[in-house]
Symmetry: C2
Subunit: 486 residues, 2 copies
């Protein structure tokens, strides 16, 4: 598609395309503070819908929200050995407050395990107080050297779930349940298919026993870690004295899990569905699902057309469609079309003077499937009756398109490092191979190809034929997925 | 009422009562970080309902949400002279990040005017870009020496609206509109009546032209500033170069407003409605509106009673009542009753074996009006059919009770400092007097009585007879409200 608005095409430079499109769609902007972004209303509206959908699922699965302090004593972060190694280089530190130097520096939370489990230690006495299944929606701070809007910013918004359980089995079950909540949310709301699986030791969360992950494939073939769910075992409960009296009367350490997704998901949505015109927002996430553009030349035409546009919008709203009438006078219809396409609104309705008498309008879908017409002249009543269905169909279509793209770039059956390198230098994507479990192989591949071990995929995502050879030579003990990643 | 659970009665020590009741109701807890609180699920659930109700009204009045950085360059805060004087002593400062000392210290936002208007300066070119009506839900930090859960904490949650307008008139209109949104929300949702009016020069927001306020009266007669709406004039737009081209083609500075309410409102709810048993949550804010307690002695009774409790709960849920069945086995009914009363759940339903055959249950309201029975035996069907009405009636009853309490402690017609002192040392409350407008009078009253000028009340709240004498002597130019305050 010709790009007459100066947007870099994805094929030329995907990274430049991303940076441009995020700003042009007014999703976010750079701030005067290094590495911190401003989330603009269009981006925040999408995030709000993600929040609402996730929060509903958290509550359905028995979780409650709470809020814990932003600032954490440095000594808390230092208590869990792997945790501090993982996070210390990225900390932002408050040393002065209220005009004085603090006795102990406070860190702006990079994640909240330490402060949350220290409170649980105070609240939990008996097995009857468990499970304690709390989540918080919050901002966190990880000082990053190289930042990109949504994908990697020093400050980001997220949710962090931090349950405590009485048994190891329950904790593992919770970890898997929340991974599944994430996977279905990503598929059903973001229309972004993901491969789920287990992280290797070197890629797991700092302080976890096991980390499970949702890995999505972006249009450039790179992986995006879209959400993680950790089984923390008793690592934190031991450091923070989170014990309880079991039913049998013994003093035991609780079993913790933690799981989170962030505003990074907005970046994932952009890189999954966007095109050379702009971003594409799946209908369930779109703050505006349909924009109605009245078309007129003379002032005499204006009144009737604008009135009809609002009437139609009102009828759609009654059917729970989120609709906006763009009746701004100082822009011509073409400029409006382009603005809303760039922002990814799923449908546009155009109404002109000649449509009034015919009781029809033009319906335009943001993205066409194979063989689909871009524009359709339809009776008004039909548009009102069918638009909700069109939105759901578009939602499904986006997921199917993304899945087809991913499958086309999922390479299975390769056995050698050369084959892996060839794929990564060529089409890119996810490469499924055998692995012995040896971390040295993982390290060597990372150095030589810049690909990382994304996950040991769950059964549903494994190849029909289990690989027998490890990519580093010798026998395979499991199948793994390699990709370059954001 | 006798208090057999060791809760300090309000009449003995209102302040101790507050501290105890907030923790016993599990609204919040102290954290290991000085001045920062943990908001527990019951408190956060109430805050979530406040957020939802306010956010709906913000959107109805044409506002959108966005998100701006937590950290603000120190130089930004220093740019507006009054602003820096007001906030500098309370700042928490990040001096190190990513393992290095920062070139310029960053402050944890105490409020976001500076960073937000600096971004607007980048986005706004023409009058067509105005009004720009953004709000953010965020955490803020003001380092406080003396803190109290919800009422005054170093970190708190709030929303801050920051519109920019093309004209002074529009800005003033917005300031008043949002004050009214706050007032009606406080009345209709928190059942907390407020007096609205203008702050004096000495009490206005640091950097504002004019500050309007909602002042609520707590049960001890002290005032709580529950929300403020500021007309900032062009003070910030001048400092941050927030200009636009007017319709006539001239370069002009924009007119800003800002308005906010915070988690302090939860404290206001507690001190407006709580009693010597615990807190009382108005039905519209209650995460659980009705708790159903099954009553049984033998295991044989248990199954049928618990089943009935869940059946009844299901029928209530169909009518959008938020209901919880407390079927915990290890607590006796009395312990459950007391826990839910302490937490302020509006209604309780008790069902025992003998009720099953009669198809009845006991309905207990958390607070009785004059002459009302505490318990009512009612047919199940009647409970299901009428509970939503009972909830709305209870919501109104709480507002009326709070209003009556306030009126009983609103003193009008006093003219001398001695009378003011006598009231404050005695019954306490709001004292309406005349005022010349002289700040020296205000200062003197503050020193001598610890009362502050809460506001110059709006017409609806003024005395029928306008006072003619200033409390400091001489002629009155206006009526004002004095009170000791939180």
């Amino acid at each position: 598609m010709a790009d007459d608005k100066g947007l870099t095409p994805r094929a030329d430079d995907f990274s430049a395309w991303y940076n441009e499109v995020v700003q042009r769609a007014e999703l976010a902007d750079h701030s005067p503070v290094r590495g911190s972004m401003v989330i603009r209303p269009w981006g925040y509206g999408i995030w709000e819908r993600m929040q609402r959908a996730l929060d509903d699922r958290f509550k359905e699965t028995g979780h409650e929200n709470a809020y814990f302090p932003l600032l954490i004593p440095m000594s808390f972060i230092e208590r869990e050995k792997e945790h501090v190694e993982g996070f210390k280089p990225e900390l932002a530190v408050v040393t002065h407050a209220g005009g004085k130097e603090l006795e102990e520096p406070l860190v702006v939370r990079p994640t909240s395990e330490t402060i949350i489990y220290s409170m649980y230690a105070k609240w939990v006495q008996s097995y009857r107080d468990l499970p304690l299944k709390l989540n918080q929606w919050a901002n966190v701070m990880r000082w990053e050297l190289r930042t990109r809007l949504f994908l990697r910013t020093s400050e980001f918004l997220w949710q962090e779930g931090h349950p405590a359980h009485a048994t190891e089995g329950e904790a593992e079950e919770e970890t898997r349940l929340m991974l599944d909540v994430y996977r279905t949310f990503m598929e059903e709301w973001i229309a972004m298919p993901v491969v789920t699986g287990l992280k290797s030791e070197s890629e797991k969360f700092a302080g976890a026993l096991r980390t499970y992950t949702c890995e999505a494939m972006m249009q450039d073939g790179k992986a995006l870690q879209a959400g993680t769910s950790h089984n923390l075992g008793q690592n934190f409960s031991r450091q923070f004295g989170l014990t309880f009296q079991s039913e049998a009367g013994a003093e035991e350490f609780a079993w913790n899990t933690s799981w989170g997704v962030s505003t990074r998901l907005v970046g994932g949505m952009v890189m999954t569905h966007g095109d050379d015109t702009g971003i594409v927002v799946p209908p369930r996430l779109a703050p505006v699902q349909v924009v109605v553009v009245p078309i007129y030349r003379k002032e005499a035409e204006r009144t009737a057309v604008v009135e009809k546009a609002h009437e139609l919008a009102g009828r759609l709203r009654e059917r729970d469609v989120r609709v906006r009438v763009d009746d701004r006078d100082h822009l011509n219809p073409g400029a409006k079309f382009w603005e809303w396409e760039r922002k990814g609104v799923p449908f546009r309705i155009e109404i002109g003077p000649r449509d009034l008498a015919k009781e029809q309008a033009v319906l335009v879908k943001r993205v066409q499937g194979e063989g689909e017409e871009r524009k359709a002249f339809l009776p008004e009543n039909q548009i009102v009756a069918e638009l909700a269905e069109h939105l759901e169909a578009f939602q499904r279509q986006l997921l199917e398109r993304a899945r087809a793209r991913r499958e086309a770039r999922s390479h299975r059956g390769g056995e050698t490092l050369d084959e892996l390198r060839e794929i990564l230098e060529g089409p890119g994507g996810f490469v499924y191979t055998g692995w012995s479990g040896d971390p040295a192989v993982e390290e060597r591949i990372k150095e030589e190809t810049k690909a990382t071990l994304r996950c040991i995929p769950d059964p549903a995502f494994r190849s029909p034929q289990a690989p027998t050879r490890c990519i580093g030579g010798g026998e395979a003990r499991m199948e793994v997925v390699w990709a370059r990643a954001y």
